[in-house]
Amino acid sequence: MRIINTMVQIRLWTSIMTIAALGAGTVYGKSLTVHVGPPSVGAGGSNPLSLPPLNPVEYEVVYLTDAGREWSIGLVPGILYGGRFQQGIFYVGVGGGLVISANGGGPGIYSSFGLDAGDRIKFNIEIKQALGIDLGSTGIVSPYALRIGATFPL
């Protein structure tokens, strides 16, 4: 069972890299990305995506400006603003904002890594992690999410 799991993981990552290699489009442009995927609201990991994906916590919208600045809006990991830095079809995002988790929320920072591959409507997959201070308990919240979606040019 462990070998099968390892093979599935290798297959998943090689599929992601293959999709990345076939993709095109490396220029910033105003766009809107709709993400779906299960967030981790506590510590450790996330549950599988609900089928059908009707849970609002699984959605996130990312608005990218011409200047390479992005707004991310979702129940988890929160409402975030930052810069996007692209190399080919891959990009990283760094910024801050209101970090939200099941344990609370407050100001914090985030970083993300993703790929945007395709011609007009692009396939997108992104890992986003956030670290914030919970204003309720003065503890730390650190949600993350692995999500896929589609990027629409505006």
Binding site: R2, T6, Q9, A43, P48, Q129, Y144
Partner: protein, 181 residues
Amino acid sequence: MGRLCFVVWVHLFRVAVLSAICPVFAEVHGIELGVGLGALEEGDDRMRGALVAQVGWQNEYASRLFYASRHMGPVSERTIILSAIKHWSVFKNKFLRADVGPVIMNERIEIGFSQPADQDYDRSENNFNIGGVVGLNLGIPTGKLLFETSWNSHIFPAGIAGIFLASGRKQTLSVTVGMRL
């Protein structure tokens, strides 16, 4: 597989130490060497201490090793996380960089009883995972001194459920001090 990668990494670390002895080799390769302390995510918002070792190259690539262990009576657990990182410039800033790359992790759990009568119940298992790392790195970009603070999430697809985007994470915080050779 995890053991093989660990052996390869230790070999690379040895090469880095050798480069400290031979400055010409070091200048050609631009190797960075560092050790430090870190905190490794457990569950329920707990972190535990870890040792960190790092080998970098040309201020652009790095390999970071986390090692943590704990013992609870007859049970011992060892966690090894080994990542290959590309530093990514952000905000045209030399101090702050994003980290991305692949990662492997092995968690070994052993149950070993000291009493001979109980040793039939000894057990061990290895949990090996492949994933990706994403994070931020704040440090001194130039000079002989290597100083880096890092915040990383090591994300692993949760087996077959990874198709439905289920994943596990080991979040780490670390401080690494060393030198550029």
